[in-house]
Symmetry: C2
Subunit: 549 residues, 2 copies
């Protein structure tokens, strides 16, 4: 069997100018990066965002793999096959997981976006621009202190962290500024991964360059000796940071193997950030396409909840349809089967594990959308298992459509495309009202989406809450950081955990993003590398990159 | 008077496809990054490197500014005006100084390379690729230790540092891996600026992608518990790091305001690294152009020495001519005049300061090249001062040509272009024979180029020397890190310091680069930001970037 990268490299890509023409993008709006990638100058795309928006989400992820992006990409190509002008709007991969556990993220098999090696490596430099702006700001904060500290920044209260697009656990907790007076002030700090940085969130929520500049100016970097917030505007460096982001704000255009135009732009993780591609890309796609296929990270508890409650709220978006991706293997894993035994039939485990899928379907319905379950078929799935799933769907009352997108591309998702188009709605909603306060918002999500029984605030989180209230920030939406593996904050609680306690560890003001981050459990904003990093298998031969998969 | 960025933005750029055609670059070798930038696939440029290579260097830099790049760019346009097919091959600017003290580096006035804002910000992402590869390697080293440490890496001996393209003094000395077992091992380490990283040096000295991969595999990252070197090849990650560098290795093509094709590729600093643009770009330019104008950082003691002794040695280059750039203001500063009094005539200071120029001219001559002095005229220079300089040149026995490149572009350097073409030679040389050992190499440079009286090795440097000898690395060329402001290692010793002591602090094996770095004085491989960083003046208005100068 060919690997993803082999399939992608064997494919002849269309010139990006042709893809742009197919999407209706005017020639003068296209800034090409080589023959098959481009940025699109959004100021040159007129029109209303009138397309239909379909959100693809999934069950709780497992090591078995669900293929959410693969289904989305196959579905987009299937839409074109049934005569719908579809456009993809998804996130950019992060180099951290590419070198770590995933080795790439751009769909799979015959449902991929290409050029996959370039998308998976530096792409058009958006992540690097964010890293650069984030770390330039950190240097400017420390330099302000070093050069007289006019604003009276209390070094012990600097909350602005550096970032890096690398999985590097050693950078989670560090001390900087050692070595004496000439080298800064010793400071306890750390790095997050770029995907979890505030500037990433800002890129993904800004409506244009002016809004981005405005949001950057609102970023809180520290407190002064009076305990008052110090912002980027106080430091007067929003202009320089915006300059570093000027090109990154334009969405990137590539193509699927089926020739569907694909915007791939912005890449916050959904466990430790808000998990949605850029609002700018989604809006641009909605101006250009009849149907826009988008996704949000991990399950409905993470990306989808944030898509409705954060992104759609900020952007005034309506979600017209949703797909929940599941696999028989993943449901068995959620039912307690070990990773190496997922190919054997096990209806007991399936019965237990399907509770996870039920919870995700119920979650999506809470936002006013009727989801369709896409059952992503693997070669090892038996006909009996598929039949069992169909029976389950009928009893549970949800439409289930098997797809074979890895092997067949768009042809493998035509039924799904038809089902999605037959189920469009116009009335998606948000779950909570932020004006009732952040505790109420967290409670609503924890109870209704996570099925938690109670919420515990740490001593630190209680202190954070006080600071938020003092500054009037407690009525901002909340972005909960939680493990993706469980509805609870404990990764080992698979299936459909209920009645658990959600442990809120810290509440971090992200005033530029316009939300408050709630860290729960022991979720970490800087991942680590596994024992055998994917980097070990990556190589270059005759200029071609191998080992991405 | 217009600023540099205003002049650059008022200029109508030619399409990069036209510039490429002018340079004789085949269409299929061009990978465009927007309409005015491109990378060039070097595998598609046939031919011999038969052009004439002109090295532009300068006197010891001062806050008064010498305009070395400005003269180089003006000279390249002047060459075209006198009918020579010139090509520029220079370094890429670093974001650290752009946000710090310089606010941009792409020439000035009517002698600039454009698009200057893009060249000065992320450009085509080469620096980010280097940062990314460097930090990915650091994470892989730490992860190896964390996941069982098969190679027996002694954490106390990890020499691989992370890097960042930011001036951030707080990152010079840090402790990583705090917070307990799950977060790595506490390690004393630090960041260098990207321009001083080993992967930057490798990019600039590699002959092609295979050579780059080979050099990366030789990088020494640490010692094991037996004190033996641990390399990237031992970690088996050279393939992944090369993949991250695959696109960066292709040189970037832009244009001067006069329409001369300009390769801008690689950017090591000359004080804390080897200070020359990439060998690949220089060779490609020599294949395409009749005359190639290149530069090396700071004065002849730093970049030029390394251009001859490191880059030309590795690449088998002959330097056919050289220009030493000087200004009356800078010579007065070198003669002891304060920065705010440089516009007044002061022949006493000029007499004293011109000794600096004399030393640089003598240095270049040691490499078998006859330099021409380009006197870069400022509006404040008086006719008497210019006359004085001409008289000095006659007495000293060097050809001096005044230029007015800031205000007049190529027209202001026609005499210089003619003088350069009339003085071509074919026999540039290296100064020392590395096989005699690194102590002999350092002594030769210190005595002949720096006019030092003696050399002092620190206790640490003596230990380093022992390690180098044990591993057979002491016969590699040396790359001396030294302040740019003085021939000595003490920045305040202006003019033509003589008889001083060169303090060698550390000797660092850079086996991938193929040289040994000697740190002298208190030179630091991570700069800091000044009291009023240039970032304060940078902004974006209607998508245009202001405040770069």
């Amino acid at each position: 069997m060919s690997t993803d990268v082999e399939i992608a490299q064997a494919h002849t890509l269309e010139p990006i100018t042709d893809i742009a023409a197919r999407a209706g993008i005017p020639e003068d709006a296209l800034i090409t990066y080589g023959p098959t990638k481009a940025k699109v100058d959004i100021s040159k795309i007129p029109g209303e965002a009138s397309g239909k928006l379909i959100l693809v989400t999934g069950i709780s992820p497992t090591p078995a793999g669900e293929g959410k992006s693969t289904v989305l990409i196959g579905l987009s190509d299937a839409m074109r096959l049934i005569g719908k002008e579809s456009i993809v709007a998804i996130r950019e991969p992060s180099l951290g997981p590419v070198m770590g556990i995933k080795g790439g993220a751009a769909g799979g098999g015959y449902s991929q976006i290409v050029p996959m090696e370039e998308i998976n490596l530096h792409f058009t430099g958006d992540f690097h621009a964010i890293t650069s702006a984030t770390n330039t700001l950190a240097a400017l904060v420390d330099n302000h202190v070093q050069q007289g500290n006019e604003l009276g920044i209390d070094v012990r209260s600097i909350t602005w962290q550096r970032c890096m697009d690398v999985n590097d656990r050693s950078l989670r907790e560090i001390v900087t500024g050692l070595g004496g007076k000439a080298h800064g002030t010793p400071t306890e700090t750390g790095f997050t991964i770029t995907a979890a940085s505030e500037i990433m969130a800002i890129l993904c929520l800004a409506s244009d360059l002016d809004d981005l500049r405005e949001r950057i100016s609102r970023i809180v970097v520290a407190q002064n000796f009076e305990g008052e917030p110090v912002t980027v505007a106080d430091l007067k460096v929003e202009g320089a940071l915006t300059a570093l982001m000027r090109d990154a704000i334009n969405p990137n255009l590539v193509q699927t193997l089926g020739g569907t135009p694909a915007f791939v732009h912005g890449g916050p993780f959904a466990n430790i950030a808000h998990g949605c591609n850029s609002l700018i890309a989604t809006r641009t796609a909605l101006k250009l396409g009849e149907v826009v296929l988008t996704e949000a990270g991990f399950g409905s508890d993470l990306g989808a909840e944030k898509f409705f409650d954060i992104k759609s709220r900020v952007g005034g978006l309506t979600v017209n349809g949703a797909v929940v991706v599941a696999t028989v293997r993943s449901l068995k894993y959620n039912g307690g089967v070990a990773k190496d035994q997922l190919t054997s039939e096990n209806f007991e485990a399936l019965t237990k594990g399907v509770a996870n899928l039920e919870a995700h379907v119920r979650n999506v319905r809470q936002f006013g959308v009727t989801p369709i379950v896409a059952l992503n078929r693997f070669a090892s799935d038996t006909d009996e298992e598929i039949a069992w799933m169909k029976k389950w769907a009928q009893e549970f009352g949800v439409e289930l459509v098997p797809v074979e997108v890895w092997a067949k591309g768009g042809e493998g998702a035509i039924d799904l495309a038809k089902a999605v188009m037959a189920n469009l709605r116009e009335d998606s909603t948000q779950l909570y009202d932020p004006s009732l306060g952040i505790e109420a918002s967290i409670e609503t999500i924890a109870t209704n989406v996570y099925s938690a029984g109670r919420i515990h605030y740490s001593w630190k989180a209680e202190k954070d809450l006080k600071y938020l209230k003092e500054n009037g920030w407690d009525t901002l939406p909340v972005c909960i950081s939680k493990t993706q593996y469980s509805f609870s904050d404990e990764p080992s609680q698979l299936g459909a955990a209920e009645g658990h306690t959600l442990h809120v560890r810290k509440l971090l003001p992200r005033i530029g993003s316009g939300f408050i981050v709630a860290l729960t459990g022991d979720v970490m904003t800087m991942p680590g590398l596994p024992k055998k990093p994917a980097a070990l298998g990556i190589d270059v031969e005759d200029g071609m990159i191998n080992g991405l998969f």
